[in-house]
Symmetry: C2
Subunit: 507 residues, 2 copies
């Protein structure tokens, strides 16, 4: 049953009492099932029967009313067809919505249990804000798109169309274009045959969640961790346990593995989203060892690993430390190194997993767009991709530094601890005072600047005093102005909390 | 539990007997759980314990062996970690695979129940064949891609990049670009706000299956019907019931609605895939009436409705007959009218459904690629799209006619009834003799021509004597040569069946 509906079960006697029915008094006019429908409908619209209440078993109600079971079945079906009830195989019939007389077709009763649980709109709202020209969005993670090499992209596109002709228009293999998979293997390591091309990392996480998780299975994720992964695992029905990624306490991780036997560990170990932290090499080695010992696959999100700001290479990736290439599944994307609008990523994993993922992908999106595979292959082959990456690194560093300084300048001293990372796209900030992150977020949004609070990055509460701010997406001058808005918002939120404090004490 | 594993349950006594264990004789060396692991492992590798067998409850085995429950738990977990068993919440631990000593990491035990059921590779194989340059594939459905207006597409692309600048690179709303949704509504009817842009119709079907179907729910589909829809509904756990679409018997449909209370009706009423048939207007009206009366949503697949070959417009679409716009959900795509490689489609439905689908899409693919939305909007606005559609209609008719004549000419008289449609992309053919469609398919493939048998289009058996042949994807001369191969393959298959026949009678 949906977790959101109450577990209350309506007994026959309870139902008759709720609906104020005396079985003997119901006129036996035909069809009798309509009478039952009317009574229950009235109960629902009057509020006596709340959504989520389980109706009595058909047999019990039939006995109590002294009618055939078929009559009750007919009544329940009629209720269902009006969207007032929903039957779940093997579990009974539940009141599903209050009566909505105006709607000719009650959709609420039609939504599946799994879908009803998908109500978290954080990602959708992030991408919506990012696309709104009236808002300076530092909420979603975007690289410096104003530096995107549009002209070179056009040339690559023209080349691809000229050289590959109609190959761009037709169906293509679910696994991805052979040539593109080879380019990926050459540039990023791994084997072409063990690569699945996808429409962005999020599609990879959805596929992996469906592939490895049964409802009720445990999963261990970074705490804090990428909110998109939490959504994917949650809607696959996983029980999610957070591992304190920043402390990187291996004993805690082993304890979680022992205690919950998770079906996978999801981690984003390099310039992590949201914390910006990188897991040190020793912790990486131990992580692989633990995964091998407990036979738990690791999903390594590599999204930010090309985005070092210091020039120093980050420690070896987990998949590089996984010598047999068996325990780590890599997920990567071009969203943060080229542009999120392109919708292009890939998964690297042992062959049996790639094969299973491809069987699943054919059903949800038979293959990823051809043209973008051809163009990005071209951009990598000609060196354009790596040139652009260098450009991004320099400019991202500049934006990080100027915005960090501005945040320092415009925020009241001690009110905000700004985590300045060595790579990636985000400041991960902590409000030092009692001020709430949501308060700061709302004040900043009112002045046209969108940022995210820490809450959606935690599975188990927390994040109420944290903020994630993307420093790469806007030119330095815009970033500085946004920092001024954020600084003022923090100041206001701090004052607000100071005013609120004494009152709370008096009361 | 996976449907593919046996339901056999191993009692403790049965297990001990199977493994030839006398509890008193097991040496009590420590750790004892390893001993249990070894014994069960030996049973699995020796074949005594088959995959799918449920192991005894931990408590029972502990009692029988006179050890603590923790010891048995440790043993079962170790088996799980070696991929030899898999625990399902609330259902127990099952033998999951025979021992695979060579693999350092046994992936087989890691795959989720739902994923294990996704083994149908028909769609993946179709798109793979279509992309193989050595095969003339008439298997997948593709329009005349050799006529794709590549140069005009380049111009539209250039224009889009020039006019919309960085809008192409950034995040975009999950529902799709506002401008593109408006263009869709203007050109294809409906309202922009009730439109969700998707990466092809298949993504729409997957979203709808997840949105409307709980495991065990019933669904009614065309028989024969689009195989991609069958895959989507099947993997959502639906019980699928076929409705004889070609006969369009409304009493049969009403009977199915009454009997199984389906959560949706999926139909492809115009130039249907695979039959090529179009549902007459009277049947359409009755369908809407039934859907309203029984409150069952209709998913109307419009993929082929623009592809009339006679010039005559097909009857009003179901969504046009649905006056309140509440009961029909439209799914459409540019795959068959422009190119499948573009990965672009849309869903039109009542607002609550679009909102729920968008919440789900954000998790699996946060938005559809921007550039392709900009370009296709441009192509529609400038009239290029409709011009191309006219070109396609003329050329598709030519290809249909020449190939139909060639099939007539090269197939033994009476051996193949070719259904020649008024629109769409396919011939739906029936072998008149005892010859098997699979036999014809294999012989044709051996000569480099790929076609599909009817089987994957039926939920309930059937299709063994039917073939679907795409007549639009190749120029007339190639189509005629392919028809020659198909004709010869039919002739051989018929001869084969005639030779086989008498022997069968003697035996």
């Amino acid at each position: 049953m949906p977790t959101r509906v109450s577990k209350q079960r309506q007994s026959v006697i309870g139902l008759l009492r709720t609906l104020n029915i005396d079985p003997a008094q119901i006129p036996r006019t035909r069809p009798f099932y309509r009478r039952i429908v009317e009574l229950i409908e009235r109960g629902v619209s009057g509020g006596a029967l709340a959504p989520g209440v389980r109706l009595p078993p058909e047999r019990d109600l039939a006995l109590a009313l002294d009618v055939s079971r078929a009559t009750v079945v007919a009544a329940y079906r009629e209720l269902e067809s009006r969207g007032l009830a929903r039957a779940y195989v093997g579990r009974g019939t539940f009141v599903s919505a209050t009566s909505d007389g105006s709607a000719p077709f009650a959709w609420r009763g039609k939504i599946s249990t799994a879908a009803i649980q998908m109500t978290d709109s954080t990602l959708r709202d992030l991408v919506r804000h990012a696309a709104d020209p009236d808002i300076v969005s530092l909420a979603a993670g975007e690289p410096a798109l104003d530096l995107f090499p549009t002209d070179a992209f056009r040339v690559a596109l023209d080349d691809a169309l000229t050289r590959h002709g109609t190959a761009a228009w037709g169906h293509a293999p679910t696994e991805g274009q052979h040539g593109f998979r080879e380019v990926l293997a050459r540039r990023f390591g791994g084997e072409a045959a063990n690569t699945l091309v996808i429409s962005g990392a999020q599609q990879g996480l959805d596929l992996l969640a469906r592939c490895l998780i049964d409802r009720g299975d445990a999963v261990v994720v970074d705490r804090p961790g990428y909110l998109g992964s939490l959504q994917s695992f949650r809607s696959a029905g996983a029980r999610i346990f957070g591992w304190d990624f920043v402390r990187a306490d291996m004993d805690e991780l082993e304890d979680l593995l022992l205690r919950y036997r998770p079906k996978l560990i999801y981690t984003n170990p390099t310039f992590q989203n949201p914390s910006g932290q990188t897991l040190p090499i020793r912790a990486r080695r131990e992580l692989i060892e633990l995964a091998m010992r407990y036979r738990v696959p690791i999903v390594e999100d590599e999204t930010y690993c090309q985005l070092s700001l210091s020039g120093a290479a980050p420690p070896s990736a987990l998949h590089e430390l996984d010598q047999d290439g068996t325990v780590v599944i890599r997920v990567n994307s071009f969203s943060k190194v080229l542009a999120p609008g392109l919708r292009l990523g890939w998964v690297g994993a042992a062959r049996p997993i790639i094969e299973q993922l491809a069987l699943m992908k054919q059903q949800i999106d038979p293959h990823t767009q051809n043209l973008i595979q051809l163009v990005v292959a071209q951009m990598i082959d000609t060196g354009l991709f790596d040139t652009h990456l260098s450009t991004l690194r320099v400019e991202h560093r500049r934006r990080r530094d100027s915005m960090a300084r501005a945040l320092q300048k415009y925020t009241p001293s001690g009110a905000l601890r700004v985590g300045v990372p060595e790579g990636g796209l985000f400041f991960w900030c902590r409000l030092a005072a009692q001020a709430s992150a949501r308060e700061v977020q709302q004040r900043a949004l009112a002045h046209g600047v969108a940022i995210v609070t820490g809450e959606p990055f935690y599975v188990d509460g927390g994040g109420t005093r944290e903020l994630r701010i993307c420093f790469t997406s806007r030119p330095s001058d815009v970033g500085v102005r946004a920092a001024k808005v954020i600084g003022a918002s923090v100041a206001q939120a701090v004052r607000q909390s100071e005013r609120a404090q004494p009152i709370a004490r008096i009361v």
